[in-house]
């Protein structure tokens, strides 16, 4: 019996040192993409009343599934809090993180992640109840501020107050739902997160949205984007170019409604995009219709933004295309 035990152990060890499988192959083998998303942030990733996930991060996940499988529904969602998100990606529990995560150098290097790009440019702000009569963030000395741990928000908050020689009392609560409840119940005076989060929370979770005001100061840059693990270049390329395809489609004027006609287009750029000419899909180890499937089943960046964020009161602002005054710029697909 001891002999079989040792033999089994040796076999395990050998198996363990065998060649590691790349994420793209693993995803193709599984038949679906496991996507790490927010537990419920309206406009970014939130299940509706029927349990269907909606949001711009969700749309990105669906776009990747459309690119890899030709079917945008082959996604499974793992809701993650800010504390859980990095370990979930590092440990392999999810294939990518599309969870309104800020791109910083620390995360890009020492946390073992690779950011593929930015799908929403944002900044950090403060929300206070109107009845406190606060007009500017510089008046918040001594306030009790609700913040989520493990976020750039927490760090920026400390920096800002130090720089302005003010103090504050942090109330640190992990889950978004709980921290917003704490703010709305009066446990803290101020809630701070990305301005997009503030708008979303005020619109969807405030008992009386008009009683809350978002202060004018934006105290940091928060480029939000999806991330994958280090050491996986093929999967990194697939995710990155799925995002760029959505942006490029809007720049080319291709929407989910007009993409079918585009198959017959004579424009060489459009032909390359929809896979009518060239071999770009093969370069990514995907089907040549990868970009076509993305736009047809999910839509371009503008459509995703309008469907998810416009109803909550967001304007394109700096998230418009580069040739319309914003920052959204996709490298050429050729």
């Amino acid at each position: 019996m001891r002999k079989t035990f040792t033999a089994g152990l040796v076999a395990l060890v050998l198996a363990g040192t065998a060649h590691a499988q790349s994420t793209l192959d693993a995803v193709k083998g599984k038949g679906f993409v496991q996507c790490g998303v927010n537990t419920g942030l309206a406009g970014f990733s939130q299940p509706d009343s029927k349990g269907v996930w909606k949001g711009i991060d969700v749309d990105l996940c669906r776009a990747i599934a459309a690119a890899v499988f030709g079917d945008a529904s082959k996604v499974r969602y793992t809701p993650l809090t800010a504390q859980q998100r990095f370990t979930a990606l590092q440990s392999g529990e999810v294939d990518l993180l599309a969870r309104n995560t800020t791109w910083t150098i620390t995360r890009d290097t020492s946390l073992g992640l690779n950011f593929v790009g930015v799908n929403f440019y944002d900044g950090q702000g403060f929300m206070v109840p109107k009845k406190l009569n606060v007009k500017s963030a510089k008046q918040l000395n001594g306030a009790t501020i609700c913040v989520q741990p493990g976020t750039t928000t927490e760090l920026n908050l400390a920096d800002y107050f130090r720089a302005n020689r003010m103090t504050f009392k942090p109330v640190v609560i992990e889950k978004l739902e709980e921290v917003t409840n704490a703010y709305f119940s009066g446990r803290c005076d101020v809630f701070t997160t990305d301005v997009s989060g503030l708008v979303s929370v005020r619109g969807s979770r405030a008992p009386k949205p008009d009683e809350h005001v978002i202060l004018p100061e934006v105290i940091s840059k928060e480029p939000l984007g999806p991330a994958v693990r280090h050491g996986d270049d093929r999967w990194f390329d697939v995710v990155k170019w799925s995002l760029f395809a959505m942006i490029e489609a809007e720049e080319m004027g291709l929407t989910s409604k007009t993409i079918d006609q585009a198959l017959a287009s004579k424009d060489p750029g459009v032909q390359r995009f929809v896979g009518a000419s060239g071999d770009i899909g093969k370069m990514l180890a995907l089907d040549n219709r990868w970009a076509f499937n993305i736009v047809k089943q999910v839509g371009n960046y503008g459509e995703s933004f309008d469907a998810n964020l416009k109803p909550l009161g967001f304007e394109r602002g700096i998230n418009a295309l580069w040739n319309q005054g914003g920052l959204m710029y996709a490298p050429p697909i050729r």
Partner: protein, 325 residues
């Protein structure tokens, strides 16, 4: 060597080899995974700037510009603060409850028994959430704070109490509402208050049973002898029963104190910045989960082993010969 000894030696060698093999398997996998994901390792991060604020500190000052090491030290001190106050309060309450259960007054005995039975059978975490909900949901904001006594304010920001500013002349520092919160005096945050309330009420129930068992275990003959000497019930309790009972209860009591200290780690669920909570934030900001968990386990293990060693020493010195196991 005789065959039995040889067999035993071989078996042990085999077991040691198997354990070493499994350990090597895990370690090599971990090293490979960390390498491929380029996650840093080592404890160098302890001297880096932490960058986050901590809601409450004990004895030491802390700011966001301080190192991770200092942040973790604040966590350890916060844990000690909760454990220290909790142990004292739980012992007092538990001893009272235990004696109440032995009281000839039927009402007191039944109430204490009921308390013990109910509290022991509900998870501590549920009780913590309950106290936290009562404080944060049912108390008003600081501007409408309740004032049950002069100078004491109850609000959803915590309990503000006056403190002694100086002893001679005797003067109190009364908390006042300034801007957003109360300034001056001592403010018990809702997290701290809920944690203490939950831990004390929970552990007191177990201590009550220990005290009761200890008192009951003092042999009947001692009580009879005390009565024969003409001591009143109270005197008998004070001079004969309790001193002997105390020696019996030290081991299980110490075990309960250890439990209280370990249970204080549940602070992470309600946001009190104890060691586990701050280590958790550190793990998230630096990505170095293994080092963080190692620190948590090392600290608690040190506390447990030193208290156990202390208790063993005390037991050997003080325990009565006949009752030693």
């Amino acid at each position: 060597m005789n065959p039995r000894r040889l067999r035993a030696a071989l078996f042990q060698a085999g077991l040691a080899a198997a354990v070493a093999l499994v350990a090597w398997y895990f370690v090599s996998n971990t090293a490979a995974n960390l390498e491929s994901r380029r996650i840093a390792s080592g404890f160098a991060f302890l001297s880096r700037e932490a960058g986050f604020e901590i809601g409450e500190t004990t004895f030491v000052a802390y700011g966001a510009a301080d190192t991770y090491l200092r942040a973790l030290a604040v966590g350890v001190l916060n844990t000690f603060r909760v454990a220290g106050i909790g142990v004292v309060a739980a012992t007092l309450l538990g001893a009272l409850l235990g004696l109440a259960r032995l009281s000839p007054n039927w009402l007191l005995a039944k109430l204490a028994a009921g308390y013990v039975e109910v509290i022991r059978n509900i998870p501590l975490l549920v009780q913590l959430f309950f106290w936290y909900a009562i404080i944060t949901e049912n108390l008003p904001g600081p501007r409408d704070a309740l004032q049950p006594f002069a100078g004491v304010f109850l609000s959803n920001r915590g309990i503000a109490l006056p403190v002694v500013a100086s002893w001679l002349p005797f003067s109190l520092e009364i908390p006042r509402l300034e801007g957003f919160n109360f300034a001056g005096g001592a403010v018990l945050t809702p997290e701290f208050a809920a944690l203490i309330a939950g831990l004390v009420f929970y552990t007191a129930a177990f201590i009550a049973e220990i005290v009761r068992a200890g008192v009951l275990a003092v042999s009947r003959g001692q009580v009879d002898a005390a009565n024969a000497l003409g001591l009143t019930r109270r005197a008998a309790l004070r001079y004969v029963v309790l001193p002997q009972a105390l020696r019996l209860v030290v081991p299980p009591m110490t075990s309960q104190y250890l439990n209280l200290t370990k249970n204080s780690s549940l602070a992470v669920a309600i946001g009190y910045p104890d060691l586990v909570s701050i280590a958790n934030t550190t793990m998230n900001q630096t990505g170095q989960a293994i080092e963080g968990i190692a620190i948590i386990m090392a600290v608690y293990l040190t506390i447990s082993l030193s208290i156990s060693a202390l208790m063993n020493w005390y037991n050997r010195r003080v325990a009565m010969k006949g009752l030693r196991r």
